[in-house]
Point group: D2
Chain length 351, copies 4
């Protein structure tokens, strides 16, 4: 089987990462990669790592025309651009994997609360499956519309889901996220100027980060309780990678065995979740350094008994498991392929 | 006035930083800098930045002999080495500024709980002033024995003290700390090997970090309540700098005005505390990047009303405000000098 | 066809990179990976990126026993360890790809001059093919013994070969090399301690770098002249990657067309050489940043007519094209496989 | 004595560094710091490291009005902006230290050759002293007009001058320069976007770098010969610092003693030149890491006898010795002050 794929908005970092992964996918043909700004240019002028791998050029077609040639369209468009494109694509019958936040939240009211606008197509929200195979594998099989998770959300949710499912927290979950620069995209600005960005530990969204909305949604579903997330995001001195440190206070301090059971029950046979819990060695806890270039999510935990605190740690490559990788994994499920196809590669280490 | 200073254990990073600052201090004469391992070598062989600034050589004298020539001795010795040295130095009449944790905690029981040993000189603990001028200025004036704070403790305490004094938290304070490599000292190990250390976001002590003990001690004093601190420490891809992100849940969400008042009341005339709270610009929140090379502590906060959460942010140079700088500031107070002498220099930016 | 592969000395960075690449190679079965120090441990304890990709454990077998099970043995041993192992392996009939310098130089006298010892098996040197497919493709097809190039040598030779073949230099070639930390291996030392290594531009071998010997050998062969190389090596603030800047003075300044012709004639159909020469864009010249994780060598040049100088630039990932990648590419040629198998993946960008 | 200083164009990195140094200078009063774009804003909004050190605001005055209040004006204006400002300032009688290239070259023809324009005031060029105290100390004493050197030029000239004075090269000098991002200034662009700039070894000017013109000028003066410089510049993964590696081929290989004599004769009593030549330790050669934050220039050399090559190494902080530091040192000489005033501080290490 060859799946015809269109990448709409392929000039950003998420678009580039989709192309990189899809180029090595054995069952995929990239029928077009669109970019208004770079129409007609070689893809490798914008994504220099793809030079020598493809002679594809950016197409200037609009989303509908481009997607018409494809079985599935990945939308890697800026914030709020997908909102209007999705209904038009739906009419063409193409399957959709949207990389934006525009169709991630089930409750239309949350768009008002977190994103500051009334969603114009509230009825369409429920047609989308949240594209995290670890939580929604069965729904993704055969799904027509998928909304890929936010990068920090993906990390936090994967790290917390087993804990939230098995134990009851006494209050809001503190999600302290640390992320590299690529999460902010490819557009220069004073805050991304190398001399100003190098070496920072910059709290860029100590309160009100929008990914909290989807973390709350997903953890509430998995736990059957109303979970609140107190999130703070920090930019650190790397390009790729996220670590989420989630602090959870429970009514009783769990034992190591109970925690292991919770994580094994949920992730024991996940192809892309690794338990990074070791008594010796350098990588005793999750650290994004050892997932860079791969679709793995590394999870681990620690317990502070005296405070009944569990620290749930999770590390991913924000552009892969936090974006393009989870999206391709979802695509594989949608089309009944081996879930690992195109993604079954180790991280690059050391890098 | 010229103060004669001895630096005991001067070959580590804290020792080097003490020497660097003291060399530019107008009222100080460094009478010796000891190092068993490097006795007889030029100080600048170990601290190459001091080349051209001093021809001092490391002395191989023991602590008592070295301190006998001085008005004040800085002890920059490894963990648990100061315990036995301090009583001997006390007999000589020299003033002491200890950089280790050995005399930081007032309650001897805490040494059993956090450090795993029974303190052999519990009666001496109360003779030491905790060397954070922002909290103990009056005690430091004329003090004879000072214990300099732990680097992450200094950051967390400065960031939280006004909040803890003015408001009541509903549970443990989450202190999520991020720190550069220099906090781990100058000794090579597999975990500090560049190829393995570069690019990490490494949770190296998610639970049980010992600095929590002194943070709890100091915040309990300042607030008059029994404060518990849920601390997690992470190593990030820089050499110098700490950011502590402290998550505090209150019974009511405070207003911005209330918070500003709390911080201004406490720090309004502090020479080395800056409020990094701006609606525009790159440095809207504290970020260690802009304190590197200086004794400043930058503080700021954010509020998430829906969860009654305050995020207290604090950034310092771990080797200066988190060690040598606070120690020299304490020395200035001990000897009745201008508190800023030797420390009144801006950070280096960009770096 | 399945090739049985043994990796002798698999716990270092080159060994780990060989394993990473071989694990995704469709025609390879790794029969063992030896490490005396880590015998019995999971490979992923040492190479954490391989966790989830393999359950292989390090074997404690000696080289002969391990290689006896294989069609080809990669020797990733420390400097001078291969010298004695090679003759023993030869007796077993196994093919050998040696990653060390021990069998790279054809002239035994050069081992005295550059490495300071008399090679004990001078007659064996000529049995080895220098494992750079761009220069020795035909010899590699069916070769039994291959010596993989030094990482900086690979970069310099690939960057200079077309120039040396087509033009005559007036004196020694200046090869100014810049390299990341992984080239120094995985063993901690004061010079690799993160706090001391971070941010350096450290000239670690301004004169006398041993890779000069093989660069001279290979460029002399390709040009038919006696080429001398004035090499200087610098460590810079990255983990992976090499840039070699080679300064060549010619009798006449060549035109752009003449230079393009020289490079195209030699590399026009090379699968892993890319011309990074563009009038616009960020990547107008080779830069290791855009080859990381791939087997590509990026080449480019500039001309300063007034001085009749050509600057030949070349960028590689030191652990791939500079080591494991070229070795696997050589293996593919030895066994008549598609040269790109296992290596046909794009670089990771941005990272 | 208090010198009244005006900094014209104070919002860039060089302007910020001038302010930082001048704020700690005991004989200086900053009368104004101009910036059209930031007129009326606090200086520390743009230079966050100066917060807490000064309440100065940017002045919107034009250069003539601002300089009229001062004894000396530092011009930290963009390329080609000083050309027209200088003659106007000259009429006011103010002393001038120009940080740009506009008055660095003595030969007007070089502006056509290297900068592509005919200098409109060729007669003024000779009125300026090239602001490198190591070469022009006597001229700087009492000078009225000074042109501060280019950052890479300062490094290369200091590293090469003793060699060029004492020995005769057989051809052009290869100057291979490596520099941090701050040399490119504070304005965001695609090439300075963190995700694209991080981790590079980017050859940004392999031929034709304009600093070659002033290196040739100064080395020709010091040697009495017509020196040609084959320069190539590279951006590396740091913010501050330059290393220049200069490759010089001589008619005879000099001995270590001859080289030491050449360097000692010239720099034996220089306050800001250090010899970084050691047989042991980490810092056996110059490395910008250990000069960051200081006005030191570290020099060293190596010899490759077989090729009669000397490698002259030089490391500086590009914003200090390569700009603001040399300028303040020149100012001190102009006004008869202790040359070290405001600059007599060690580097920050480790950082």
């Amino acid at each position: 089987m060859t799946i015809k794929v269109s990448v709409i908005g392929a000039s950003g970092y998420v678009g580039g990462e989709l192309l990189r992964i899809l180029l090595t996918h054995r069952d995929v043909e990239i029928v077009n990669a669109t970019s208004r700004q770079h129409a007609g240019e070689y893809v490798h002028k914008v994504h220099p790592n793809l030079k020598g791998m493809t002679n594809l050029k950016f197409s200037g077609e609009d989303a509908v025309a481009a997607a018409a040639k494809a079985d599935v369209a990945f939308l890697a468009l800026p914030h709020k651009a997908s909102v209007q494109v999705v209904p038009k694509l739906m009419e063409t019958g193409v399957r959709i994997i949207d990389m934006s936040a525009d169709y991630r939240l089930k409750d239309p009211g949350k768009y008002v609360e977190w994103y500051g606008y009334a969603h114009p197509y509230p009825d369409l929200l429920k047609k989308f499956v949240y594209g995290l195979p670890e939580l929604h594998r069965e729904e993704l099989r055969g799904a027509k519309y998928v909304s890929a998770p936010g990068c920090m959300a993906a990390s936090a949710i994967i790290g917390l889901a087993p804990l939230m499912k098995a134990f009851e927290a006494t209050g809001p979950i503190v999600v302290d996220a640390k992320i590299g620069s690529s999460g902010a995209g490819g557009k220069p600005s004073p805050s991304t100027h190398f001399s100003e960005r190098f070496g920072v530990i910059r709290p860029y969204k100590p309160a009100g980060h929008r990914h909290a909305a989807e973390i709350e949604q997903e953890l509430s579903i998995v736990s059957g309780r109303d979970i609140k997330v107190a999130m703070s995001a920090h930019a650190v001195n790397i390009v790729r990678g996220i670590l989420t440190t989630s602090h959870v206070f429970l009514t009783e301090a769990p034992t190591q065995q109970q925690l292991w059971k919770a994580y094994r029950d949920m992730y024991g046979s996940e192809p892309f979740v690794r338990f990074m819990m070791d008594r010796t060695g350098l990588y005793r806890y999750p650290d994004p350094k050892v997932v860079i270039g791969s679709n793995f999510a590394d999870v681990g935990f620690a317990v502070e008994s005296r405070l009944k605190r569990v620290i749930a740690l999770s590390a991913i490559d924000n552009l892969i498991k936090g974006a393009a990788g989870s999206a391709v994994q979802s695509m594989n499920l949608m089309f009944g392929l081996d879930e690992r196809e195109g993604l079954n590669v180790p991280a690059i280490h050391p890098v």
